[in-house]
């Protein structure tokens, strides 16, 4: 039985240090700002209607203007009750909802994923990670780079179950459905990191299927894309060389691709530039040595139900693998 060193990062240190935002209340794209406006209009109108209805109810309920006669058998429509029913039940909804409907439709048109874009990216949802394909053969995982202030068309697909692509700060979500192709437009107002989450229950680790969008200055983005297009860096040093051999022999290559080597598996994320990514396991862990080792040694203890089996490697072999993978910048 192989002895494996457990390098599992303690649960609490998952993304320690920085507090992060994932909400739609800090819109950072034209689409997100448009629906945020709609939100505040609705909240304002809703508050007014709610206060009105409750005030009327309280006033009606604290009865002091009764006559003594039994009102039970008086027939239905006093003028006051007619006003209330028609005014509150018909006029009020119409007056509030017709303008809201107009604004809503205008907003729907604004955020519809139409219009030509210069850049198109394919995102494929898997249980429980995201595959991203750029033009020119670049494939990466869980971390989407886009040029800031530029609309990017995202083509969404999946081969297993239904997932949903959602970056709250950048806009609404769009489902990925087997057999269909859906689309979304991503555009960030400025460079930064924007967190996302799968938003359609897709199985046991739906909760940990997250992603990050990194918007960069266009020039930086171009540089990043060129860099990603290059094949994998050659391993430097004995340990890394052994690591590459272990990678192929222990079967990692049957699931993962490392462009420029013989590893061409397609079940798991492309690892050609894995060390350039900031997180692992779909934004579950920061990409550090310890986490990398822990993940490879026993993914099930971090993300039980993930489709990656533990690697049958010894302690030294694990260290070699880490050295190799760390070099794949």
């Amino acid at each position: 039985m192989t002895r494996r060193m457990r390098l599992v990062a303690p649960a609490g240190a998952l993304l320690a240090g920085c507090a992060e935002e994932q909400g739609s209340l800090a819109p950072a794209s034209p689409d997100a700002r448009a629906v945020d406006e709609l939100l505040w209009v609705m909240v304002s109108l809703g508050a007014v209607v709610f206060i009105l209805v409750i005030t009327l109810l309280v006033y009606a309920g604290t009865g002091r203007r009764r006559t003594d006669e039994n009102t039970g058998d008086r027939d239905d429509a006093t003028p006051r009750s007619q006003w209330l029913v028609i005014g509150g039940g018909v006029a009020l909804p119409v007056v509030v909802l017709v303008p809201l409907a107009v604004f809503m439709l205008v907003t729907a048109n604004r955020v519809a994923p139409t219009g030509a874009t210069e850049l198109e990216v394919r995102v494929i949802g898997n249980q429980y990670w995201w595959e991203i394909e750029y033009p020119g053969g670049v494939t990466t995982a869980n971390e989407i780079h886009i040029p800031a202030r530029t609309p990017v068309r995202v083509v969404l697909e999946t081969d297993d179950v239904i997932h949903s692509f959602w970056i709250p700060e950048l806009g609404g979500k769009t489902d990925m459905i087997p057999g269909e192709q859906t689309e979304s437009i991503l555009e960030a107002d400025e460079p930064g990191r924007y967190l996302g989450q799968c938003a359609e229950f897709c199985g046991i680790q739906h909760a940990r299927m997250r992603m990050v969008v990194i918007a960069q200055e266009p020039a930086e983005f171009e540089a990043w894309l060129r860099y990603q297009a290059a094949p994998a860096a050659e391993p430097v040093g004995e340990q890394a060389l052994r690591g590459r051999a272990t990678f192929v022999e222990t079967g990692c290559a049957s699931c993962h691709t490392v462009r420029g080597t013989s590893a061409d598996g397609e079940l798991g994320p492309d690892l050609t530039h894995v060390a350039s990514r900031s997180t692992l396991a779909a934004v579950t862990l920061p990409n550090t040595r310890g986490n990398l080792g822990g993940w490879i040694a026993d993914p099930q203890s971090i993300k039980p139900g993930a489709l990656m089996p533990p690697a049958p490697v010894t302690g030294p072999e694990l260290l070699d693998l880490i050295a190799y993978l760390e070099g794949l910048r």
Binding site: G12, V35, L39, A77, S81, A108, S164, F201, A207
Partner: protein
């Protein structure tokens, strides 16, 4: 009155009571058919599931209380949220409300039971079986974990290979069948068994809400049955309805499910609004204003609710126009909802509100439901919904409308009618305390969840990152959940205590306006001593003028108390409730529970792939149904269970009907269609909706296909199916003829049986393969459906012909034959057009 007369009166009432009583003890428990007993069983079983579902929710909240919590693993968490939603949506809300309706509606209508009491009992046992099936998984460890709406492909054979989802699908189908059975009962009692003089415009608003709810159930529930059937076929036989790789489509599940799912929430809401109407009227001492508008709003909500379902699917990539349309339709339902809300406010304003415990719950309902309605408009706004969908914002929204809009009225109902049901009053201050605690607990639980959704917390996540800042809101939400649970505990302890030790309640502790308050508390087995004649919307508050001729009123007074040792009720006309006939209802029987057991055995056999068990169960079920029918027939022939106007045996009745006599009673009206006939037509309507669901699936897949058949081949030969269709048309010409002699009935039977054989042979000869692709699956399934419906018609016709040949008549079979025969014929011809003509025409 002289002593002799008084004694005769007492003996008379005692005899009626004896005729209507159930057997005591355990035999009584299994054979009881009285609507009050069955209704209470539905209610208390529903409460039990509420508590189970609540415990499941508390466990979920404990897990979410802290980031990265390890109280529950992801698998257990996913199972628990699935079971929580499933339990609440299928096992608690609708059954409890249906039970309340089964209990109250006959009382409020001035009649004595539901029209098919044994069928009602059967519905209860099927519900229990469904609940057991769904929760059995908790014992075997193979618990469903696909969410309460079970999206494919996650719940398909590839990604959910264990038996858990099969239990789920079959359990849900059982419960929906029980729901449909109950709905048919309620529609028939409301349409045909109201007290004389209670025209449609004089029915209590609660009864209106139940009528609309039941009609909605007949249209909505078949869609989830179709969806589940297709999924079970995919799981068991590889029929790829939802598998995109073989011509299926995962979105088909979503459409079928939500065509059921959206009306489902209004199915729950409408009777709850009926409760609010009932409670408000009584506790403010004033009828609800604008009665016609409120009744119209109920119907309006029902109709509009069938046009909203796509708002659950805003994120699937639909064209903007579709989004806009369904968003606006979703807005539109605010109008009939608003009419009801303001009618209640106006009623309270015009009346003298007494802030009793039930009214406290009504107040809680207003606050919470209106807020939920407002967030409903927000999530209906499609572009913004793309932010809120599948987050805790939506979870908050639907708990506001469901707990506020459905549960708070239910609690008001339980407190308000508990004295009627048990003869004891619950303690007022404890009821108010429960309400206050629940109100606070509810808002502390769910208001923060709006915030969490806006902060990006998706739903159905077993844990979340500590750096996201969600912990505080989640902690408050969990604290609130325990406070809410405490409120429920106070409420039910109050009821439990009152059951034994509460103050004794008279017949009318609240000064109510509807007829249930005219009975004792609890009501005698026969409910009303005398079938009343009704002349107003609030018969307990004013007598009014029934608008019936004096002779009729006198006749009712005489016949309304007539007992003849049988369970008698008066059947009346649909619009004006003019009395038409005396109907005797069947009494206690073991066949309902026995049939439910055999049905369960058969279904479990299918579930575990044990063909012998399934076949044995199916055969036993068939024998049980036939025996049940035979038991009814013999009771009718002996005078009990006959809708015959008092005639001695069925042959005479048929003769009477042929002469269009006004029944054996001098009631001056046309005897009209029997209750069995109405019930049979409603059943046929359900079969039509099921057929529509299957056809919808067929055309949905057809529209998404580039070639049809999918593999580009020619459709199967037309000759055999065409011959079968012709035979069915021949059979249809014998639809109305069984009364005229058994030979034509037999001819029809032979024609339909021949058509079935020809169709089956054609199907086999065409090499149709249910697992080849979606086309093959659709062809086989739709053909099988037509054959199944035909088999049911053959069974009914066959029994009728058999009895006729022996000179016996069964009125029920005669009345059921025509609708079922026509239904089977129409279904067959529709399936012929869909399956065999579509590929040739489109």
């Amino acid at each position: 009155m002289t002593d002799e007369l008084q004694r005769a009166e007492r003996d008379h009432l005692a005899a009626i009571e004896a005729a209507w009583s159930s057997k005591p003890g355990l035999p009584g428990f299994f054979s009881a058919v009285n609507h009050k007993q069955i209704g209470l069983r539905f209610i208390w079983t529903g409460v039990a599931f509420l508590l189970i579902g609540g415990v499941e929710a508390l466990l979920l909240r404990i897990q979410l209380m802290r980031a990265e919590n390890t109280f529950l693993g992801p698998d257990t968490y996913n199972q628990l949220f699935t079971m929580h939603g499933t339990t609440m949506m299928f096992l608690f809300a609708v059954p409890l409300l249906e039970g309340l309706a089964m209990y109250l509606v006959p009382l409020q209508l001035g009649t004595r039971d539901l029209p098919f009491p044994r069928l009602n009992a059967f519905g209860y046992w099927v519900y229990v079986a469904g609940g057991v099936l769904l929760n059995w998984s908790l014992l075997t460890g193979s618990v469903p974990d696909g969410g309460w709406f079970a999206y494919v492909p996650l719940t398909g054979p590839e990604f959910s290979p264990t038996r858990a989802l099969d239990f789920w699908l079959l359990g849900v189908t059982f419960v929906e069948i029980a729901g449909i059975v109950g709905a048919i009962e309620l529609i028939v009692v409301i349409m045909r068994f109201r007290a004389p003089g209670m025209s449609l415009g004089r029915m209590p608003l609660f009864v209106w809400s139940v009528l609309v709810m039941a009609a909605m159930m007949l249209v909505a529930f078949p869609f989830v049955i179709v969806a589940s059937t297709l999924l079970e076929l995919e799981r068991k036989f590889g029929a790829p309805f939802y598998d995109a790789a073989a011509g299926g489509n995962p979105l088909l599940w979503q459409h079928l499910f939500w065509i059921f799912g959206h009306p489902e929430v209004y199915i729950m809401l409408l009777p709850a609004t009926g409760v609010v109407s009932a409670v408000v009227a009584v506790h403010v001492g004033r009828r609800i204003v604008a009665y016609p508008l409120v009744a119209a709003s109920l119907i309006g909500i029902a109709i509009v609710s069938f046009g909203l379902w796509v708002h659950h699917m805003f994120a699937v990539g639909l064209p903007v126009m579709v989004l806009g349309l369904f968003a606006m339709a979703s807005y539109f339902i605010a109008i009939p909802s608003g009419i009801q809300v303001f009618a209640w406010i106006a009623t309270i304003w015009e009346g003298r509100p007494r802030w009793t415990a039930p009214m406290w719950f009504v107040a809680g309902f207003f606050f919470i439901f209106v807020l939920g309605g407002i967030t409903g408009i927000m999530v209906a706004s499609a572009p913004w919904d793309l932010q809120a969908h599948d987050t805790f914002f939506v979870v908050a929204h639907f708990h506001y409308v469901l707990i506020g809009g459905v549960v708070f009225p239910m609690l008001a109902a339980l407190h308000h009618w508990f004295p009627k049901m048990t003869g004891r009053r619950p303690t007022e201050w404890a009821g108010k305390l429960a309400c206050a605690v629940m109100f606070v607990g509810f808002n502390v639980t769910f208001f923060p969840q709006h915030w969490l959704g806006l902060q990006g917390m998706a739903r159905r996540v077993y844990t979340y990152d500590a750096t996201l800042g969600w912990e505080t809101s989640n902690l408050w939400s969990t604290i609130g959940a325990f406070v809410l649970a405490a409120g429920f505990a106070v409420f039910f302890v109050n009821l439990a205590h009152a059951w034994r030790r509460g103050a004794v309640a008279g017949g009318d502790p609240w000064c109510g306006d509807t007829l249930e308050w005219a009975t004792a508390s609890p009501p005698a087995a026969h409910s009303h001593d005398v079938i009343p004649v009704v002349g107003s919307r609030s018969p307990q508050w004013e007598t009014g003028d029934p608008g019936l001729p004096d002779e009729v009123v006198e006749a009712v007074a005489v016949t309304g108390t007539s007992w003849q040792g049988r369970r008698e009720v008066i059947r009346t006309s649909v619009l004006d409730a003019r009395p038409q006939a005396i109907v005797s209802l069947p009494g206690p029987s073991y066949w309902p529970v026995i049939s439910a057991v055999f049905l369960t055995v058969a279904v479990v056999g299918v579930l575990v792939n044990w063909v012998l068990l399934a076949a044995a169960g199916g055969l036993a079920l068939l024998v049980s149904f036939v025996s049940w029918g035979e038991s009814n027939r013999r009771a009718a022939a002996a005078g009990e269970g006959a809708d015959d106007g008092g005639a001695a045996d069925d042959a005479d009745v048929l003769a009477a009907r042929r002469r269009s006599a006004a029944g054996a009673m001098a009631l001056h009206t046309d005897p009209g269609r029997s209750a069995v006939s109405t019930g049979a037509w409603l059943t046929v309507a359900v079969v039509m909706v099921l057929t529509g669901g299957f056809a919808y699936a067929y055309y949905y897949l057809r529209l998404g296909a580039s070639a049809w058949p999918l593999d580009g081949t020619e459709p199967a030969a037309l000759g055999g199916p065409l011959l079968a269709a012709v035979l069915v048309v021949v059979a249809l010409t014998t639809a109305s003829t069984i009364e005229r002699g058994f030979l034509r009935g037999l001819l029809g039977w032979v024609a339909l049986a021949g058509a079935s054989v020809v169709q089956m042979v054609s199907l086999v000869a065409s090499d149709a393969d249910i697992s080849a692709d979606a086309y093959g699956a659709a062809v086989v399934t739709l053909t099988a459906w037509a054959l199944i419906v035909a088999a049911a018609a053959l069974a009914v016709r066959g029994l009728g012909v058999y009895h006729a040949a022996r000179g016996q008549w069964s009125l029920s079979l005669v009345d059921a034959d025509r609708p079922i025969w026509i239904g089977a014929g129409v279904v067959w011809l529709v399936m012929f057009a869909v399956v065999h003509l579509t590929p040739r025409v489109f």
